[in-house]
């Protein structure tokens, strides 16, 4: 195992060698379907995404309007979950905040995968000097204290949604790169790759059409899980006050309401539960995918 890889073990063990799959997606789905906790996760995730998309048009209270007395407890007004320290509707905040939280989580994860896979693929495919340089770069980013560095980036270049997603992406891609590199190194030496090469396939084709699809399964798992960690990351930054002041996110709700916990625990409890459920659902789905892709592990 690689000594400098700090990804959770799920991702680390996902990189087992795979036989060339026959009809992979269907097989995986069948395995996945039998996994109860993964299906529950998928259901929760689906529900949260649906609420985030259509919720704001069904529940039309603005999350910005001061609609009631501040710090009203749940169930004591027409606003079901009560109000925050400015008298804003917490339920409206949760529904609208989900959109922002999930968007940031998703875009940061896309960025993570994009950078990680590109660097890992190039390093693993070409090897030699290119590999050496790219791995130095990867090490460099691994050595940076990730949360601190992201904080600095967001602080220096103002906390907008885009900057936050970029900052998370920049500090999160290294383990993906290592995993991709390992997969590429392995698959590069397989017979079918050698065969393609011998009939004159170019590098681009080999990377894109031949190796990447075969390296994809563990990467998909990592991609799924990195949405979860990006959401947690965003929540942490928001909690520290590094959030876009024009967008309500769950993490920001926790940070904003934290000074008032003596009088209103619900202001931090609900958004926390929302984050917890979302990330939990993503983890369950990720684990389920992992098991389905790699059935040998599942027997454990």
């Amino acid at each position: 195992m690689s000594v400098t890889d700090t990804t959770p073990p799920v991702a680390a063990t996902a990189g087992k060698p795979l036989p060339k799959p026959v009809s992979p997606s269907r097989q995986v789905w069948q395995m996945f379907r039998q996994n109860h906790s993964a299906m529950i996760g998928l259901f929760i995730l689906f529900a949260i995404i649906v609420i985030s998309i259509i919720g704001p048009s069904l529940y039309t209270v603005s999350p910005r309007d001061m609609v009631w007395m501040p710090l009203t407890p749940p169930g004591q007004s027409e606003y079901l979950l009560g109000t925050d320290y400015l008298g804003r509707d917490l339920l409206a905040g949760l529904i609208n905040g989900g959109r922002v939280t999930i968007t940031i989580g998703f875009s940061a994860a896309v960025l993570t995968i994009l950078i990680g896979v590109t660097i890992g693929a190039l390093a693993g495919f070409f090897g030699g000097r290119i590999d050496n340089v790219l791995m130095r770069v990867t090490e460099f980013f691994q050595v940076l204290p990730n949360l601190l560095f992201a904080m600095v980036v967001v602080m220096l270049f103002s906390p907008s949604l885009i900057n936050i997603a970029i900052a998370i992406g920049i500090v999160s891609w290294t383990s993906t790169a290592r995993l991709t590199r390992a997969e590429f190194l392995k698959i590069r030496e397989m017979d079918y790759v050698k065969a393609e090469r011998s009939i004159g396939a170019g590098n681009a084709r080999l990377i894109w059409k031949v190796i990447l699809p075969n390296a994809a399964p563990p990467l998909i798992v990592v991609a799924a899980l990195s949405i979860g960690s990006a959401i947690l990351f965003e929540a942490g930054l928001s909690f520290l006050g590094l959030s876009d002041p024009n967008a309500m996110s769950w993490g920001r709700m926790i940070g904003d309401n934290r000074p008032y916990i003596l009088d209103s625990s619900w202001g931090v409890t609900f958004p926390g539960i929302a984050i917890f459920l979302t990330v939990l659902a993503i983890s369950l789905v990720g684990d389920g995918l992992n098991d389905a892709i790699n059935p040998k592990l599942r027997q454990r």
Partner: protein, 527 residues
């Protein structure tokens, strides 16, 4: 004005004595008072303004005078003073036998040195003592100030908070005053308490100075300022009575309600009048749309500061009516107000040809939110954003990543609008004129950064600066406040919510308009 203060002096003293005799218990010597600090960088108030340094520094250093209730100037290190007929010379007599904490005598030379240090290093140094042309020390216990014009607020600036008397023999060694090592280590003061332990990461402990120049004072043996940065911790400790006295407690209005219910704990918002902390929405008057008075009027109708103070701040702050704090001696409520009226606001904007465009908005602007008073500015900014959205005005909030970035934006006039706040510091020449004077449109923060210039206003300000008759001066400031509201230089927000939380154990709680920033010579602990 100086005469007025002098005349009022015996009355004020009698009032304080009366209050003391009414107290149920005789003042008792001894005991340790626990206050708190949220962190300070220096103990030398001559080079740093603000309460973090001011609260301990006013105990460690003495000033020439103190300020009593109703802004009465009372003798302190100066036992008496005389003002010349033309108001241009002030002579102080220092008390006999006063010494610094290292035993060295306090002389006129020290006073002269201190004033020069303050003038050169304190943010308000020039405002306070810019008109002091020379300082003589004819005798060891005499100081004579020569002025080039009457300065009505001069005596007010001679209290320990604004002009601490520093030991010349320690500081006059050529080192930069702002970074002088003795501002934090082995601090030698002139006040009722001396530094026993100064560990900025843990606590500051002050002990009674036995040779203090007022006999039998201070009553307290010790004042401890533990470092407590976390506001929640502070609230819980106050609730349990673990802190006796917490000025600038940094509590929020809802915490105040909670603390009032606790046994033996009192909350007061008194003692902040002199500092006079006001908040406002600052608009860049140079550019569209805010160069248009009608737009500002529309905003004033749309932003209901009464709602803010009642709902968001739990009715514990006063809505702002102008540049002066309601606790300021020159405050006047007789100013034009703009009642909340969204329809009128919309009509004003339509008339000013800022009607709703094809994109569904009238106009949009960026509202900067500084990081130094989030408990006040964030709610205000979010309220303004929500409120103006109803008028189809898009407000984009921009939180400054750090203090310096905000300062730079505002000081270089590179902004649309910002939440802001400032201190009156009690004489308006110090804290108020700076925002309105045409000559003070500068690239300096908390100057006239919004770019307001009105000759009428300038005339009023110049007249008020030298007027020594109290009533005449009050009348001038009433006009100034009226004009500020008519011109809508700023849109005033609720005043700051500042509270002192203190326990029942404390006798003679500091009652002057300076509150906890005045010396604790008379404070004692019961039982």
């Amino acid at each position: 004005m100086l005469d007025t203060f002098l005349k009022s002096l015996p009355v004020a003293l009698a009032a304080t004595l009366g209050a003391a005799s009414l107290a149920q218990a005789e003042p008792k010597a001894g005991g340790t008072l626990t206050a708190f600090t949220s962190g300070y960088r220096t103990l030398n108030a001559a080079v740093q303004s603000g309460a973090a340094t001011g609260a301990p520094a006013s105990q460690i250093f003495a000033g020439l005078v103190t300020v009593g209730t109703d802004y009465a100037i009372e003798p302190y290190l100066a036992e008496s003073w005389e003002v010349s007929e033309d108001q241009l010379t002030v002579t102080f007599d220092l008390v006999d036998g006063a010494t610094f904490h290292d035993g060295e005598p306090i002389t006129g030379e020290d006073v002269k040195f201190s004033m020069e240090v303050v003038k050169a290093n304190h943010p308000f140094g020039q405002n306070m003592f810019g008109h002091v042309t020379s300082i003589d020390t004819p005798e060891a216990d005499k100081v004579v100030l020569h002025l080039d014009q009457p300065v009505p607020g001069l005596l007010m600036s001679l209290q320990p908070l604004l002009m601490p008397v520093l030991p010349k023999h320690i500081y006059d060694d050529g080192q930069d005053m702002k970074t002088h090592p003795r501002n934090m280590e082995n601090v030698v003061g002139s006040g009722p308490f001396m530094v026993e332990e100064n560990d900025p990461t843990q606590r500051l402990t002050l002990v009674k100075y036995d040779d203090f120049f007022i006999d039998g004072r201070p009553y307290l043996d010790k004042i401890v300022f533990p470092l407590i940065k976390d506001p929640l911790t502070r609230v819980l400790m106050l609730e349990k009575g673990e802190i006796d006295y917490a000025p600038f407690a940094g509590v929020r209005p809802n915490d105040a309600t909670r603390l009032e219910k606790a046994d033996g704990v009192n909350v007061t918002t008194d003692g902040y009048g002199a500092i006079g902390y006001v908040h406002y929405l600052e608009l860049n008057l140079r550019e569209k749309p805010f160069n248009d008075h009608a737009v500002r009027e529309a905003l004033a109708h749309a932003i209901d500061t009464d709602f803010l103070s009642k709902v968001i701040f739990g009715g514990r702050t006063q809505p702002g009516t102008g540049p002066l704090h309601t606790g300021n001696p020159f405050y006047s409520a007789d100013v034009p107000m703009y009642e909340p009226d969204m329809e009128k606001a919309a009509a004003l904007l339509d008339e000013a040809s800022y009607s709703v465009g094809d994109d569904g908005t009238r106009f949009s602007f960026v509202l900067d939110v500084p990081s130094w008073a989030p408990a006040a500015h964030v709610p205000m900014a979010e309220y303004i954003q929500a409120q103006l959205a109803k008028l189809n005005i898009t407000v984009e909030l921009r939180k400054a990543p750090d203090f310096g970035t905000w300062v730079k934006r505002i000081a270089s006039w590179d902004y649309d609008a910002t939440m802001n706040g400032s201190f009156n510091y009690p004489d308006p020449t110090i804290g108020v004129h700076r925002h309105f004077d045409c000559d003070n449109i500068k690239n300096v923060i908390w100057s006239n950064t919004q770019g307001y210039c009105n000759e009428e206003m300038d005339k009023l300000l110049d007249a008020a600066a030298v007027e020594t008759d109290m009533d005449a001066r009050k009348a001038l400031y009433a006009d100034i406040q009226k004009m500020a509201q008519e011109d809508l230089v700023f849109i005033y927000m609720p005043q700051d919510f500042s509270a002192t939380v203190y326990s029942d154990r404390i006798g003679n709680t500091p009652a002057s308009p300076f509150g906890a920033l005045a010396p604790f010579t008379d404070v004692y602990l019961e039982e």
